[in-house]
Symmetry: D2
Subunit: 367 residues, 4 copies
């Protein structure tokens, strides 16, 4: 995880944007905290957790003090911490709204883990709250900050594939623990769809730049498996985009880890296999000449995400994946669940134009 060769010096702690990490689960421990420690523009200034022991251990590891660890009920104590300009919400989905709104009321900018919420209505309320409080809200869609996924988008939108006709994406993994909050409808708002299927949904929209007009979906929730008492095991969904472009997608909590994206154009194809992973992304562009794997840096995706939001906090511009981007995915997921329930195609609100829910392009866009 090299620092940028041409920018070998990270900013000093005092100039970086200070974040409070809200929630100390596996993602925080294994990804966000290591990423923040090596980012250029962001630094962790506080931790919010009710696990005091764990919080203090991480505080020591981060060279913070015990006083930098806050229980949830004292979240509002961060208000006075001028060195905490932003919070990163890493809580079960159903708690996102509450903490985003509490952060907004304190005037803190908010980076919120995906999915933004549990449905489109809740998600929209969060966007409205941040707008009212005049703070930035960013949905943590890390893939949209990587050179690999941007190179895929560039191949698609730059004409190298000819007109794009079809897409296909799979994101599935095996979840073993029936007691995990991810398996509880009330906490997660769904099963694999909002957790991992959202990557397929989101990245298909990202590479096309347009919005789907309709969805068809079917889901499977095995009755004999205790893991899937509340949420679905698998979803197959089909997205209809303008001009007859169709994307087939699969997601599941019951399969061996798989993460792919394929775009089929008249004159070429893009394949990411794996797509979406934290590291080891692979991109192949094929056309009449042969197959090409561009040489791209495999950068820390959470670091890129932290840095993009820190820069937006500094310049006040809308991040590339603002709250609105998260709301749109919820609208579509709501429609996917409706289609699976009714067995009917569900039509979506038209959203003509390009990148209509997105903000400032990230650095990876120009690589």
């Amino acid at each position: 995880m090299p620092l940028k060769p041409d920018l070998p010096l990270p900013e000093s702690e005092s100039r970086r944007v200070g974040f409070a990490i809200v929630g100390l689960g596996q993602l925080s421990a294994e990804e966000l905290i290591p990423a923040a420690r090596t980012s250029r523009h962001a630094a962790i200034a506080a931790l919010v957790t009710d696990d005091e022991e764990k919080g203090r251990a991480y505080a020591r590891a981060l060279d913070l003090t015990d006083g930098d660890v806050y229980p949830y009920e004292r979240f509002e104590d961060l208000k006075g911490r001028e060195d905490v300009e932003a919070v990163y919400i890493v809580l079960p989905n159903s708690l996102h709204r509450e903490y985003v709104e509490r952060a907004a009321r304190m005037g803190k900018h908010v980076l919120c883990e995906k999915p933004l919420s549990v449905n489109a209505g809740e998600a929209q309320a969060m966007v409205d709250a941040c707008k009212a409080a005049n703070v930035l809200l960013m949905t943590a869609y890390r893939c949209q900050y990587t050179p690999y996924h941007w190179a895929a988008r560039e191949a698609v939108q730059g004409g190298r594939l000819g007109r794009v006709k079809l897409l296909d994406s799979i994101h599935g993994q095996s979840e073993d623990d029936p007691e995990a909050w991810r398996m509880k409808q009330r906490l997660a708002g769904g099963g694999p769809l909002p957790d991992v299927g959202i990557y397929s949904l989101n990245t298909v929209r990202f590479v096309l730049g347009t919005e789907p007009e309709w969805v068809f979906a079917t889901l499977h929730q095995p009755k004999d498996d205790p893991r899937f008492r509340e949420v679905e095991e698998s979803v197959s969904f089909v997205l209809g985009f303008p001009e007859g472009v169709v994307a087939n997608c699969l997601t599941s909590y019951g399969v061996h880890k798989t993460a792919t994206l394929r775009v089929l154009g008249e004159e070429g194809t893009v394949l990411m296999d794996p797509a979406f992973t934290y590291q080891g992304l692979s991109l192949t562009i094929s056309d009449g000449q042969g197959d090409f794997q561009p040489g791209l840096p495999d950068e820390d995706q959470f670091g890129l995400e932290f840095d993009h939001f820190a820069q937006r906090v500094r310049d006040g511009r809308v991040p590339w994946t603002p709250g609105e981007e998260g709301v749109q995915d919820h609208r579509i997921m709501d429609a996917i669940y409706e289609s699976a329930r009714t067995g009917q195609v569900v039509r979506l609100q038209p959203a003509p134009g390009r990148d209509v829910f997105r903000g400032e392009k990230p650095e990876a866009a120009s690589q």
Copy 2:
């Protein structure tokens, strides 16, 4: 294209099953004739074509005489040719029925190119005609005779992937010629679906061994493209199998060549990329240990197909992919077109059991 190392001697011409090739298009010229020339149990004894010059050129290349070339109207002259035990129908789809029935009336066994016909009703009539005439009818599904596709099936059915949950397949290519018979609804019975999409449909059914219960499909037929005046450009179809197993499939005549099959199980996955191609097939089986590409022979698929049917002609047993297998694919394709037309899920006749439409396993099954 080696002869089998352990069977270095091909049978002499006189002991091989003699075929008449009916139709001398590109597939016959580039694949079937070379394959037959190197097969062990089959030999080409006659050619049926109205292109007399081309017929005579191929006859000379095959060491046949001008007298071994027949125009279509003299097809029945083959009746008296005892050395012609079988015919291989390689004509536009809409002509399959007529020539299968004419061959059956002559008492010749019939190997018929896929798709078997233009719809399930026509296809069933062909099966009935061959049964009445007591001749064998085989649908030329070459993939089901290859070690690669059988190894995929074995990984799926042998338990290596755990319970199978989801499948995904793409088969598309670019068709440029608006005047090709493939682009005429009356001759082809459809567009990419019966021509290349049928591989996805057929192979998904083959690796599972079970039959779908419902389909959902959407198709795209661009109004501004002269190639697609009569037939669709692309189809997305979803197949629902027993126990919640779902297969997403894409097919198109408007995309860069793509041919893949992926099976997702609880504990592992199978990926063929490419699948379905004449050569260069690639199979990866992934599980918790890593990724594995078994070492398999890349044999001539048309040769395997010829040899399987020749052996069935000799032993009188039902071939692995009889006419009934072709009828079943037509039933499902009929439903796919109906779903695309109505926008509704279409339910299929139940067909419980395993391999219910198939016959004698081919040699590749035991490798």
Copy 3:
């Protein structure tokens, strides 16, 4: 193994160049005969073998008569066969000279399996004999007729890699039968070096177009292994080319099948892995942009070889890999064995210029 799409009609038997295949071992049975049957310009007209039964079986398979099978002692009976214009010598290496010279005396053109002979002196005598008899002699270096190896050469010589600095090649396999003629010094003239290592040697020279100035080599011949009583198990050899270019090569009869070629230039690399195989060749060109696998046809290499020589028989030009090309490889292999025996670097005769031992470029050169 498709016939050329743009040349769908093979020449009729009567216009093709008729070959007598001299020797009916595994290579003839599994590769040459199938290849000849599908070639455009060559046809098999006679077989020479002392195994009468096998000869007759292949004759029947080829639609030849028993009279087209000749025992070795009646080799000269071919002289009167006007339809036999060329012979293909597929005998143990030590017999190449005798049969090439007997063929030359009959005025037949000669395609001779690699290695051309058992050492440079014998090989040169063969070249001289063919020259004296005014017949063509071609060394059967099939790799030099494939689009893949030509694309590698084009990447090397066309400047895409910048200046070439280093090469590395491995060709090894496992030989199990101590009684095979390949394991007898008197019959084979060496072990893996003249049999499989020659591909590395030959292809390194082919892609560079220049000749080595010196060699260093070491070999291993295990005392406790009955397979290697007479010939070496493995050879490591280093070839020094002009301007400091060096090629490291490995060959062995004691290793799992491996066949690779790598060329390292200032700005890019070429990797063939596998190189040299009958099918499934793979080529990757890497440079600062990424990795590229050109889309190339995987044609039957023996068919390409047959066709090149048949065309030279027709036009009288020097084939791309004439006898002189085979002599040069023997000179270098002689030096490799000398270096291994003495432990010293052995210097070679200078051979300045490009492709100094080669003739007319094959069709693959212009693809």
Copy 4:
């Protein structure tokens, strides 16, 4: 770069082994400092550099104070720093000896970048000095701490390949700056050989566990290239191991980045392509069954190295790659240069046994 899932808590700063980083070049900036910040057992406690501004910037980034930055002439001030138990020497090769000896005199344990020194004599003196001072000395051979390279070793030594016969390795890259210290003989002690070729040398020895008996080498130093006024551009070297095992190696500063290792055994092969890289390592084990890529974690290699040495500082045991391991590579490199100079094979001191220069196995050994 996840923290270990089963050990989510890093040790607190106070319990980790404190290192002074001596030298703030690119390797320190881009690899070592990020790695140390996320390691479990090591922490950076001081920086030694004459670039005061850069030192202070990194100190701030690391939450150290200006007082934790030392110029080289005040290196001995670290003696009194009880929180600095070890130093990591990241200086030009020719300075290694001086700083290792100065550190040893202070009683600090020493982790020294590869190559350990500029020749075997200098390297042995460093080992002797650390032994006399009773401090640990470890050569920073990061590859020997990775799961990938250990899995390759396990495949080789565990019998999966059958008896190993041959090895082949390439490590080369393009160096553009004629003024870099790497291009100065006095500072670097050589060109690509001690810098990148050492990985091939070292890893070949590591996977075999035995020591070479002789070497042959040739080098190229183009006269017309200002980059190579002092050091060689390329080296080809052949290593002879016991029982006839031979390794061919190539290294260069004049080629497109290439890093591979191949081991050929009777029944299988190991391929690492790339080998040696900081991330994205790839391992394929091939045998009669097919090709297998084990699923292995792509961990931060410098973090693994830091942690191994920190644990040895805690338990006092000899690290896996002690100074003696670095000395042995210098003995062989000295012989390589001698062979290239004389054109003769150079014999090495016998070193029978297994892993005779190595210490305690790292954690990756048991994965």
